[in-house]
Homo-oligomer: 386 residues x 2
């Protein structure tokens, strides 16, 4: 009965006529209230109210003015990750803070891991982008650059035309690696995915045939779900840090390697388990592998606190204690790290979100662009080898 009548949009011109002023006066009354007299503004508001004018059409405004009032955020993960992953959430909180401060809306571009992602970026009505770390070969990054809008990327990849914000992951990994590997004989690493294929696997450290630079290539493929459970290709055992296309993962692996080889250790004897996601449950399953058998690790460096917590769960199921049976480190100093006595790398992802957003919006001095952010090693029980 009360079916909503598809009421035609009231236009600015109609408001102008009703208020007895010009269209421009109405426009100014909304866009630059100081530009018109109090009286005219009141007349306009009154007429708008009476006619049910909902305010300037955002699309028309953005077409004409070139501004949208939106800050775009692109995650190199499924859209829900922004709310599901604790670290991403802290980062986003910082971004949101800046948006609120500047009256900008925050637009999350829907990334699903499919080929349409590029179109979603292209279609995004935003004034600038903040990008959460993704793979070097992610076509979404190219799409962002192609828009020509200001963009800041957190974690990587580095790219001409993108401001870059990240901690020195390699140095931090060396620091925490030294801590967790000290006195160890059979070290292990629990890693984030190596590339966009996101296959979980188990192996040992390996070096490339030829040394390589910063960037490594990989078969661009697949979305998020496509992790083939068993790779029947060539020996899946050798895990080469330089081959990872995620800059953060690559740098942390390199740092762990440096830490171990720096004390005379052999990288090819380090067990490396790769998770397909940043989840405690998967980490728990992989940790069970690392912690059992003839090569059971007596030190595990995990790339994230979530993963480390999974390791702790596996340990308690196996009747192992930390640091009695093995040492353990995490990363990010999440809320659960302190109660668990977990040695970790602390960095304020919230501050980094703030810095990224400010840079994207151009409110940060140019000198502050392309900046490295601080980190701290936090020593706790989990690396206090008896």
């Amino acid at each position: 009965m009360s079916g909503r009548t598809a009421r035609r949009r009231v236009t600015m011109a109609e408001v102008a006529r009703a208020a007895g002023v010009s269209v421009m006066t109405v426009s100014y009354a909304y866009g630059q209230p100081g530009r018109v007299s109090d009286e005219a503004r009141a007349r306009v508001r009154e007429a708008a109210e009476r006619l049910g004018y909902p305010g300037p059409h955002p699309g028309a405004r953005s077409l004409r003015s070139g501004r949208t009032g939106n800050l775009g955020v692109v995650l190199g993960e499924h859209l829900t990750y922004a709310f599901d992953d604790p670290q991403a959430t802290r980062f986003m909180s910082g971004v949101a803070q800046v948006c609120a401060d500047h009256g900008m809306a925050l637009t999350l571009v829907p990334i699903t891991g499919g080929p349409a992602d590029v179109d979603r970026v292209t279609e995004a009505a935003v004034d600038a982008f903040v990008v959460w770390t993704t793979a070097d070969d992610d076509p979404v990054v190219d799409a962002i650059v192609a828009t020509g809008l200001p963009a800041v990327i957190h974690g990587g990849p580095r790219r001409e035309g993108l401001s870059f914000v990240a901690a020195d992951d390699r140095a931090a990994a060396v620091a925490v690696g030294r801590e967790v590997f000290a006195g160890a004989r059979r070290p292990g690493v629990l890693s984030f995915p190596l590339d966009r294929a996101r296959v979980s696997r188990l192996g040992f450290g390996a070096s490339p045939a030829h040394t390589s630079g910063e960037v490594a290539s990989s078969p661009a493929s697949a979305g998020f779900g496509g992790a083939a459970p068993s790779d029947t290709g060539p020996s899946p055992e050798g895990i080469d840090p330089d081959a990872s296309t995620f800059r953060v993962t690559r740098q942390r692996l390199r740092g762990y390697r440096d830490a171990w080889t720096g004390t005379g250790g052999d990288w090819s004897r380090v067990r490396v388990a790769v998770c397909s996601t940043n989840s405690a449950s998967e980490a728990e399953a992989l940790a069970a592998e690392l912690l059992t058998g003839p090569h059971a690790c007596d030190a595990v460096a995990a790339m994230g606190d979530e993963l480390a917590l999974g390791v702790l769960r596996a340990a308690s199921r196996l009747g192992l204690t930390v640091p009695g049976d093995f040492t353990l480190s995490g990363w990010d100093d999440s809320a659960a790290a302190a109660p668990a006595g977990l040695t970790t790398i602390a960095q304020s992802l919230r501050d980094q979100g703030i810095r990224c957003a400010r840079t994207a919006l151009g409110v940060l001095a140019p000198a502050d662009r392309d900046s490295e952010v601080p980190w701290t090693l936090i020593r706790r029980e989990s690396t206090r080898r008896p």
Copy 2:
């Protein structure tokens, strides 16, 4: 040196000319790829690539087509709340899931508690709104209705023109209230804010002079920070459920009251502490008041698990045990509830987010609109009175 040249935007007409086709063909190539031949589409893509055409201008597209590809989300809290509050985050995850499924971007409207919030809503370039519970007198709700766009509100207030999704908070509060108050002699309630002023206070249950209906009025005022620390007005002691302008808070207070008075108890002897925010630390401070002194509570019903966890912290500081010294209940069955043995109301905020978003986007059958969502009482140790 490599200063970014402010390159003029390439237009569709230029691409059309370069590709040797009409403008409409280019438009179709982007908007309805099936509408043009493979060959024409390839020519267009090639020309676009060559000219650096970033794809159709989103503003122009939205002006002409009337669609934006954005789902708007409005929180009755500061924007950062979407990422800081665990419950809001779960809800948002559901919303994000639906957005991803439909290729819609998710736009968070920047709410700060200031007078500009209304403008931010009006300016939002979205196709529909999802609204997270707010106060009955929040002008933002009127602004949303005024846009005429489809909108779904979660938790309240109910409003003509808004679809409504919520659990039966009152019935759930009765259920959990009976559980936590069973055998109690000095019950207490730890409540969310009563109205937009968000003042924290301590008092006893009170009834209004005249009975009132669903809606209560209150002085529309203030933003989030404006909590006057001490209210020197008329007796701040009487806390009347019907006077709360937050529907969720109101219904839960009523339910707690019903649970207590239903067993012959006197509502005016129930201690009520009101938090200004949903945070464990503030709850901890207020709980210390509830749990000490001659009227120390032997049962506390908290409106959220966060608040209940604060109560537990206060208890452990005071050397009190649960349920030995007092019973306790929370709400929402958050991750920490089970380990803490906390009796609580479980409801899937993620599912509710999904339902809200689907309804807003019009993909849910009309019959499913205006729906109540399920809840469950989860009994745990915290109400097992010895």
